[in-house]
């Protein structure tokens, strides 16, 4: 029997167990408990904790630690992650692995404290300057969050990329029973700074951006090929498929189950890796599917773009793509069922 555990605490402890030994950041609701936990927990595992003067300083400390080969993590929310983009593009450029947690809160500008999914576009496209991608992992439960945290570190290390742990405010604040992953005692990455210049570096004027671009694409293609993750339910014969992630993804599975029981052929794809987007899931969908419906917690609909693009590529027939952005919070099972009813009754216009 597992004990009730708060999301942010479970996320922080899972990171420690996954091998995180540097935390640097700045508090922001609703991610702050992660930092508070790290402030004392890091010392217990001989790690480094720095309360940075700003979000920007925090992510730059992550760069410093990662450059030394230390598994590094920072956490923030919407506006804080905006400030971190500078560091995330630098990490990507230097091919330094790190984990950045975004406990998303709703809104533009400083936003609000509501739980939301409004940062999908930014996280999946790489929000800083240049041309890079981050691996984006989206948990739908606290148990899954702890598992994805371990994966976040492993994928960051494997591909020398930034893993963005894109959750929602509510997941950090809620409690569920949860079994934590085992403690790992990992050595530092072998290529970090040691002061002896053991690992040579190409000087800034000797870099060849064209060659680097080829390698970058090869790497991203490997990630796309190997690291797509999703949970699918009853999509092989579905007339309609709900697509969602995180807490709305979880609620969508509940809604689809109830709709099935009521006789509707509804399936669900719950996206776990928002990047690489789980295109392979769509290859398993009924080729005669009538529509995809994204259930999102944002204002304008963002996931819908990836769904429509993927549908275009994987489903031979033209398929309608609908989107119901619930703005913020976790849409209720009842509300999602109503979204579906709106679609089949012609009360929701397709986006694509």
């Amino acid at each position: 029997m597992a004990d009730m555990m708060k999301g942010n605490v479970a996320i922080a402890e899972a990171a420690i167990r996954a091998g995180a030994r540097l935390y640097a950041g700045y508090p922001i609701t609703p991610s702050t408990e992660i930092m508070e936990y790290m402030s004392w927990r890091m010392a217990e595992v001989d790690g480094v904790f720095v309360q940075a003067e700003s979000e920007i300083a925090g992510i730059n400390m992550i760069i410093g630690g990662a450059a030394c080969g230390v598994r590094a993590i920072t956490a923030s929310s919407g506006p804080g992650i905006s400030l971190k983009q500078e560091g995330m593009t630098t990490l990507s450029d230097e091919e330094l692995p790190a984990v950045v947690v975004n406990m998303v809160r709703y809104g533009n500008g400083i936003g609000t404290l509501y739980s939301a999914q409004c940062d999908y576009h930014r996280e999946t496209r790489g929000g800083g300057n240049g041309d890079y991608r981050c691996i984006v992992l989206c948990p739908s439960s606290i148990q899954e969050a702890t598992e994805l945290m371990v994966l976040a570190f492993d994928l960051a290390e494997k591909y020398r990329m930034v893993s963005v742990f894109m959750s929602e405010g509510a997941l950090g604040q809620m409690m569920e029973p949860c079994e934590l992953p085992p403690m790992r005692d990992l050595p530092r990455y072998p290529w970090g700074f040691d002061g002896k210049y053991t690992n040579k570096k190409i000087g800034i004027f000797d870099r060849n951006s064209r060659d680097e671009a080829v390698l970058l694409n090869e790497k991203y293609n490997r990630v796309k090929e190997n690291e797509q993750r999703w949970e699918a339910n009853s999509i092989e014969d579905a007339d309609y498929v709900l697509v969602a992630y995180g807490l709305p993804g979880r609620a969508s599975i509940g809604a689809a189950k109830e709709l099935r029981a009521e006789g509707y052929k509804v399936g669900v794809i719950r996206v776990i890796t928002a990047w690489p987007f789980p295109e392979k899931a769509f290859e398993e969908v009924n080729p005669n599917v009538k529509g995809f419906i994204t259930i999102e917690a944002n204002a304008t609909g963002q996931l819908i773009d990836d769904v429509a693009l993927t549908a275009l590529r994987t489903i031979e027939n033209k398929v309608q793509c609908y989107c119901r952005p619930h703005v913020y919070g976790i849409p209720s099972v009842k509300a999602i069922k109503q979204d579906f009813i709106d679609v089949i009754n012609g009360n929701m216009k397709e986006v694509y």
Partner: protein, 178 residues
Amino acid sequence: MKECIFAGFGGQGVLTVGLLISQMATFKDYHATWIPQYGSAMRGGTANCTVKFGEEYIYNPSQEEPDILLAMNNPSLVKFLPLVKSGGTIVVNSDLVDSKLNTRKDINLVEVPCMTLAKEIDHPRGANVIMAGAIVKLSGDFTEKEAIDGMNDMFRKKGKEKFQELNTKALSTGYNYI
């Protein structure tokens, strides 16, 4: 699956009651979720949390339609009254809550003078645990022993076992009041 909302002033221990019930549920190997209202919304004195538990996986942990509402003060009753499922139960702290504020006929309103009871058992801070006992009985999901074991397990893990005797008494008081 059961949904409960626990609401009251900050300091009345409603988040703890919610946690107690959810922990009792996990003690029984049920699925359980606990979700608070958080952030700036929690400033200014009111607090609430939603707990769901049951044998089935909980697809949506957030507030929908509670089977049980605990209202420890008047604003909580007024605020959450419309959400309660038809046929549901509202437990009010009758030492503070004016039951005439209830306008619904399709729910079962239960008055528990938890503050008075707490004084009687000489555990003035145990009013919330008394309410937990009452809710355990009303929900019908746990025996008195399961509830006590679940609660004591939780407090023990939090290093608060020194209140075990008092809390056990409070929980039984609430349970047997119903």
